[in-house]
């Protein structure tokens, strides 16, 4: 376990409990030719190590195909672990039996990207919320009613009696997403995984959902893994930010540290590419790298960003994978530019 000074950003209490610990996690998908010859692996997630603490939010930012959703799904147990391990409250997931997995899954809530796709269209709000309880053995009707009332109040779907008999298509996008959050909360989880929870919603509703998640986090001391491609929402919503590229976590930072100065050239490019509403934008061009993210079937040697990087050091970046270098106490980058500061 790495020392706390390096994993916790400044100013955070040192005695917080790690809810989730991830060590050198790899998720590879095998590609087969003609059904049985192995043609290679898609290295969707290629070595991730971090800890998630009680009551904290980590934002994972990156473009499509960088492995951020693979990370979420591996934590949820949807993907198989190729290498490495996940500890939930100091329990190694690989040692869990069927009952253990059931208990683990009831302790993490999952908030999907597309609320309409995540809700069964033939179930009413009441049945959608009863289902997780039935599966996890909460059969007492009074208890079920109490919990449904409580979560619907928490996500502000009021008046409750009006919503219970409704079907998902009768709700607006924002209400659907609040129902998804209610479903994730009904088993009183310790951790939420939110995979792009607001990217399908309108701007005015987006903030509402994020503030709702924040309120839930405070009330229940939830740990949240917030996965997004939108850099502009993370500053309002997270303590730490991780940037991913080509299956690797390339930058880990406290939110304040990253906003002050992103270290990795890729994170800096994401920063540059994000447009704030500002008239000055009209007169300037964005300095962003051309090209595309690498193929994960056959990633480039060395740093995976080096073919697109302007600051590439010949003979080093294109040959050796950069290690994670802690440049500041709360800010690390996997980049050879900082090799003297290791």
């Amino acid at each position: 376990m790495p020392s706390l000074a390096k994993t916790l950003p400044n100013g955070q209490p040192q005695n917080q409990k790690a809810v989730l610990r991830i060590e050198n996690l790899h998720t590879w998908f095998e590609i087969r030719r003609m059904g049985f010859f192995k043609a290679g692996d898609v290295r969707a997630l290629d070595g991730a190590t971090f800890e998630l603490y009680e009551g904290e939010t980590i934002s994972i930012v990156g473009e499509s195909g960088c492995g951020k959703s693979t990370l979420a799904k591996t934590i949820l147990g949807i993907n198989h672990i190729t290498k490495g391990s996940i500890f939930f409250e100091d329990q190694d997931l690989s040692t869990l039996d069927k009952e253990g997995w059931k208990r683990y899954r009831s302790a993490i809530g999952y908030i999907q990207q597309d609320p309409y796709g995540a809700l069964p269209p033939f179930m009413t709000v009441q049945r959608i919320l009863e289902e997780p309880m039935k599966i996890n053995g909460i059969t007492d009707r009074a208890e079920q009613k109490k919990r449904i009332r409580q979560v619907l109040e928490e996500v502000k779907l009021a008046p409750i009696e009006d919503f219970l008999p409704k079907f998902p298509h009768m709700l607006s996008g924002g209400q659907q997403q609040r129902l998804v959050i209610a479903r994730a909360m009904i088993l009183d989880p310790k951790m939420l995984i939110a995979d792009e929870p607001v990217s399908m919603l309108d701007a005015s509703v987006r903030v509402e959902i994020l503030q709702l998640l924040q309120a839930l986090q405070r009330r229940h001391n939830l740990a949240i893994l917030y996965i997004t491609h939108d850099l502009s929402t993370v500053r309002y919503f997270s303590e730490r930010i991780f940037a991913m590229y080509g299956g690797k976590i390339i930058e880990k930072s406290s939110t304040t540290g990253l906003l002050e100065k992103p270290l990795h050239p890729y994170t800096a490019a994401l920063f540059e590419a994000t447009s704030d509403p500002d008239v000055e934008n009209l007169h300037s061009f964005k300095d962003v790298p051309a090209g595309e993210p690498p193929s994960l079937l056959n990633p480039p040697p060395g740093c995976r960003f080096h073919p697109r990087c302007k600051k590439m050091i010949k003979g080093l970046c294109d040959q050796q994978m950069p290690p994670e270098i802690w440049v500041h106490e709360d800010h690390a980058a996997a980049c050879w530019l900082y090799k003297d500061q290791a």
């Binding site: 701007a203 005015s204 502009s232 929402t233 309002y236 994401l270 509403p277």
Partner: protein, 328 residues
Amino acid sequence: MSDKKVMLDVQNLKLYFRTQAGPVQAVDDVSFQLKQGHTLAVVGESGCGKSSLAKAILRLLPRNISTYEGSIIFDGQDLMTFDDERFRREIRWINIASVPQASMNSLNPVVRIEDQLIEPLLVHDKFNKQKAKDRVAEVFEIVGLPVDFLQRYPFELSGGMRQRAIIAMALASDPKLIVLDEPSSALDLLSQANLMNVLKRIKQTINTTFILITHDIGTASELADEVAVMYAGKMVEYASAEYFYTDAHHPYSQKLMASVPTLREDKDLAFIPGQPPSLINPPTGCRFAARCEKRFEKCSMQPRTTDLGNGATVQCWLFDETGEVKHA
């Protein structure tokens, strides 16, 4: 204001769709002017009628139209007087091109990019085949794609490249106006920034007039000279980007701006409680009134369009006394 000529003058445009529950007032009494070489960004939430406005201008209409009226004066000609055949032959794609939403995914997967791009030029008898190919190679360079990619199939190009190919297709016939419907929202952040660079360069070098339809107010500021805000089928505010981004007037525009998270600046985010009204039987007064904190008695009547000066207009009773009333 500059004395550039007016490229598009839309007055009292209405587009209603017929449904079983009654007419849907998707575009209701929208008026604006757009000068040559300028870009108008039409912003608003889903269902506010911004895509319907684009369809109304291009006359790409579904069958269930109940009302389609008003005037669209494009480059001095009233398009509403054109019959469909004349509109097809003289306007659509020749003078007004369009990049519909998610169109990068509608390229034919079994036809090479080049053959798809020259098709509109051949259909309109603008060029012979060789000339069309030369022209397509020319615009491919403008959008920053290697010319040999013309020989590829769509699946061999990434999303950002396909989107640029579509924009090349719209540019090929040298139209005076291009309507872009959410051109970058399906793309990744870096591809999006690259595409905005390309569009900006086109705007500066070729002086094309654009209408950019988007829900992303941040990205809109990359390209917009003017901004129009739509809410529930009405154009509630129209202003130059300079005025809009620093000093939006309509309460809805202000709320919308306050809900946009910013990366570089820390601000208090606020959301807009409630939902937009149904466009079947919308409220008789201001359509935003139910969600507006500043509503008063007058808001139960439809607000007039108030001229705020500098070409900016707003539909809100708050400004009716101070501003100069343009038309009742």
